[in-house]
């Protein structure tokens, strides 16, 4: 872990602080709404503004990085996590509108968690795009996965709440956590499928085969299969077994983390996706 004081990293740190402030203000808002304090609406608005400010700071960092490397910054782990931090606020707005409920604090916490390795862990040395990454499929393939992963992280957070929240299965917005997780997965699953299919198509163009049995491909497939199983179970049994549904969503979320971090960082999984290394 290392602190860097260039403008790019300072922007990321500022975005992280704004997200943390949003988390704190969201907690204040909840406490006030529960009758333990005043100004719930004000704290909620301030939390939203703080999260939005974090987004603005992150997107300025993203643009600076784009100018510096002269390609869409999605090449290495630093750039991927910076991008995850950028897309979180707009996705949070969209999901809160589509799913309902008040997940601002939760989403801001996820934003902080994904910006943390970009700011403090991964190397940010600019790199040229290697030949295999110079294709128009690079952006939609990675972007589809990034969007899916963020929404699935939100779904996994809802599933954790469903499993562990005592007597609080209904979120502030009146939406059941199990239902919220399901709605989020239905939003992410098409993107996950698109990422998998675009990756296969790109693999065919670049390497000659749409499926190479590469560890990264297999972990992406594992993630997809877990959510596919969840969709089938949810379709067959609905919310009859909410805890099993939630466990599957959490397992899917863990598979996302493994695919994104463990497979890229561990030497256990050498493969053709080596340019995704830190």
């Amino acid at each position: 872990m290392h602190v860097q004081l260039d403008s790019l990293h300072l922007l990321i740190y500022a975005a992280m602080l704004a997200c943390l402030l949003a988390v704190a203000l969201s907690a204040v808002s909840r406490a006030a709404a529960a009758g333990r304090g005043l100004g719930a609406a004000f704290a909620a608005r301030a939390g939203e503004a703080s999260f939005a400010a974090g987004f603005v700071l992150a997107i300025v960092a993203f643009i600076l990085r784009w100018i510096e490397v002269r390609h869409v910054p999605l090449q290495n782990m630093f750039e991927v996590f910076l991008t995850l931090g950028v897309v979180l606020y707009p996705l949070s707005l969209l999901c809160r509108r589509l799913v309902g409920g008040d997940s601002l604090g939760l989403d801001a916490m996820i934003a902080f968690v994904v910006l943390f390795p970009a700011g403090l862990v991964f190397k940010s040395d600019p790199q040229h795009l290697p030949p295999a990454l110079q294709d128009w499929l690079f952006i939609p393939h990675v972007a589809a996965y990034m969007l899916a992963y963020i929404i699935l992280a939100m779904a996994a957070a809802q599933a954790v709440l469903q499993l562990f929240a005592k007597g609080d299965r209904v979120a502030v917005g009146g939406v059941n956590h199990e239902l919220a997780a399901y709605r989020l997965v239905t939003l992410a699953f098409p993107l996950l499928t698109l990422g998998l299919v675009l990756g296969a198509w790109w693999g065919k163009k670049a390497w000659g085969d749409y499926w190479q049995w590469d560890p990264q491909e297999l972990w992406s497939l594992i993630t997809w299969l877990i959510f596919l199983a969840y969709m089938h179970l949810r379709c067959a049994a609905g919310a009859r077994w909410p805890r099993i549904n939630s466990v599957l969503v959490i397992l899917g979320g863990l598979a996302v983390v493994l695919t994104l971090l463990w497979v890229n960082l561990s030497r256990l999984f050498p493969g053709m996706h080596s340019y995704a290394s830190p």
Partner: protein, 359 residues
Amino acid sequence: MSLRRIIPAITLSFLAVLTVLSIAGAFVGAERAKVMFTSPTMVAYWVALLVLLLAGFVVFPKLVRRPGLLAAHFGTVLIVFGAMAGSQAGHDAGARIFGRAKVPLSYMIIAEGQDSSVMMDANLAERMGDLPFAIRLNRFWIEHYPPEGKNWILQWVAWVPADANTGQPQEVLEGQLPWEVGSDMEVPYTQARVNIVGLDAAANGQPRLKVRLNIEGRSRETVIEPAPGQLMKSLSVTEAMGLSAGEQAADEVRLLFREPEGDVRDYKSDLSVLKDGNEVARKVIEVNDPLHYGGYHFYQNAYRIDQEQYTILGVVSDTGLELVYAGFVLLCGGVFYQFWLEPIVAAIRRRRGGHARAA
């Protein structure tokens, strides 16, 4: 227990088995995973999966009535079927049934200006078959990014003579000297040393490397400065120091001061397809942009440079590919329709219905 209960349970079991096998496959590496997933046992699994998918259409009419579910499931059938057709076993079956012998995966090595129709194995050691046409390599080249921020390279080149006693042929050897101002290094194949005195830029912007050559009491200071617009300048150490045969183990030794190459941007091969000696197609291929001709894709796989430049092409049969691509489109279209479009359409209908009732 009815089929409507059994099939979902079997489906979940199939997904669980594939998930566990995929986890195992991720740990054993791509080559062994490929062997595992294409083994006869797994072929039985894939066939059973196809049967299960088709049974789903019969038992659950909803799968047929709802366009999204129909497309996604039928797309999966096409992907599995296309992948089986494109496998080694699928190619063998195609050869037996249709008499159409194709090699699923092979490689070609072609020298610049030459043509070939020979398909080799991955080690380029064993002949796997011949194409019904030939591929000519008109030109192979590598493109680089600009060498931003990199130091110019100081390199030595030695023309080592043939040695009749050892059978050593005449050869040109070269290597880099890791330099910085102040460093003092041996010049390989000589008894001379080179001392880097300084580096500055000429008025035309070209770098000027000031060096001092030393050998047993003799010393000479000189500047290696590429001419305007040139990317390299060489200095003969042999001539500059007047090296005798006893002072060097080569016919000549030179220092080269040259601009560094940037990172590789792309590998490109200009290919022609020849049928009966006539060119019937031509394309410059590069990574991500293969040539497609005669049921095969030709990929820029690798290259080799020794006395000549060679390109190494990956040659991949396209059998089953259309089915897989059609399956991809149906699968993606199906899930987007089912989970994105259908809820939007339903919401619009509900809203319109509400307005109509209100009116």
